[in-house]
């Protein structure tokens, strides 16, 4: 490569790297706004703005789902295994909603309780045929696998 081309190549790579650093710093400064949701611990620490619409993300706590038999009202706990926030919601839940499943809910925090307007299920990166899940459940390995991904 002749020296002139080498110099041009280095200038371009240098400029792209500098731009990358600049954008990186901006994104780092804005990370609070880019995060899609608050965790239950952040809400417990009062880091989430009060009585404004926010999103909360976490796992649906085992054994916490209570459905009203008369209406579509449902209430459940969202946990990050340190803190838990109670969520109430009226409406149809996504198919993947179940205890132990990741969810992102949108709504307002009132009296330390979140009144949700939208409940979304979060899917993890693991894919398995149903027979494998059954075999894992019988040998007690499934919880171990789930624990690894959380």
């Amino acid at each position: 490569m002749n020296p002139k081309r080498k110099q041009r190549l280095l200038i371009i790579l240098g400029l792209v790297a500098a731009l990358g650093v600049a954008v990186g710093l901006v994104l780092y400064a804005l990370s609070q706004n880019i995060n899609l949701f608050f965790t239950p611990t952040q809400i417990a620490d009062n880091q989430a703005p009060d009585s404004r619409i926010i999103r909360l993300g976490g796992m649906v706590a085992e054994g916490s789902v209570e459905r009203d038999p008369e209406s579509l009202e449902v209430s459940f706990g969202v946990t990050d295994f340190q803190n838990q926030v109670r969520v109430t919601y009226t409406g149809i839940l996504p198919d993947l909603f179940r205890e132990g499943q990741g969810v992102v809910v949108q709504g307002r925090v009132l009296n330390r309780e979140l009144q949700a307007t939208e409940v979304l299920a979060k899917h993890d990166e693991n894919y398995m045929p149903p027979e494998v899940t059954e075999a894992l459940r019988q040998s007690g390995q499934l919880d171990k696998l789930k624990g690894m991904t959380q």
Partner: protein, 246 residues
Amino acid sequence: MGWRWFHEWGSPKWFYDRAGRWQRVCGFLALALLLVGTLWGLGFAPADYQQGNSYRIIYLHVPVAFLAQALYVAMAVCAIVLFVWKMKLADVGMQALAVVGFGFTVLALFSGSIWGKPTWGTYWVWDARLTSMLILGFLYLGLIGLRSAIKNPDLAGKACAILVLVGVVNLPIIKYSVEWWSALHQPASFKLTEKPAMPASMWVPLLINLLGYYLVAAYLVLASMRTVILDRERGSAWVREVIERD
């Protein structure tokens, strides 16, 4: 120095003839691989324990999303070659890649949206992954627009190359968006350093489809580059020969 092979690429005619042959090979291989991968993935791979059959969108979504980014990387390499070696063919490559890349980005966004409704409960959410992918789509669209807005082809090539290189910062953002920030989109199921988070009966057809879509992209880019070359060299004798021959 062994740079001769590289400088051969500077000749549009040399490339036009060879690209025609490569294009045919890519087309046939792509057809064969996609037929096997898609039938296997949609018909014979097992269903997922949670999502049931709707997970099968990965046999389209993962390859096209992958390619939307890979084509951008190819475009960035073209931009560097254009700046450092002033090679005309690199500019032709950028022009073709922008259009094909935009198509793949739209497909990725669209297929993901269709899957999002049954799985997440929404077609769209402004999380970091989806938003950065949308920005990638706008970058491609901007490149197409920028080129057609500038009449002088040399200037248009340089302007596009600058925009391509500026947009490169978006690629690591897309890749790590699901790790740096909390997002609704799940992290990658495939990592170079780890075993895939699914059994072989699921990922083998996905791998076949990934290769198949790579070849589809190669086919489309080569076809589009050949058209661009004919258009740009329309005054030269060899193009007239080609047109009379075909």
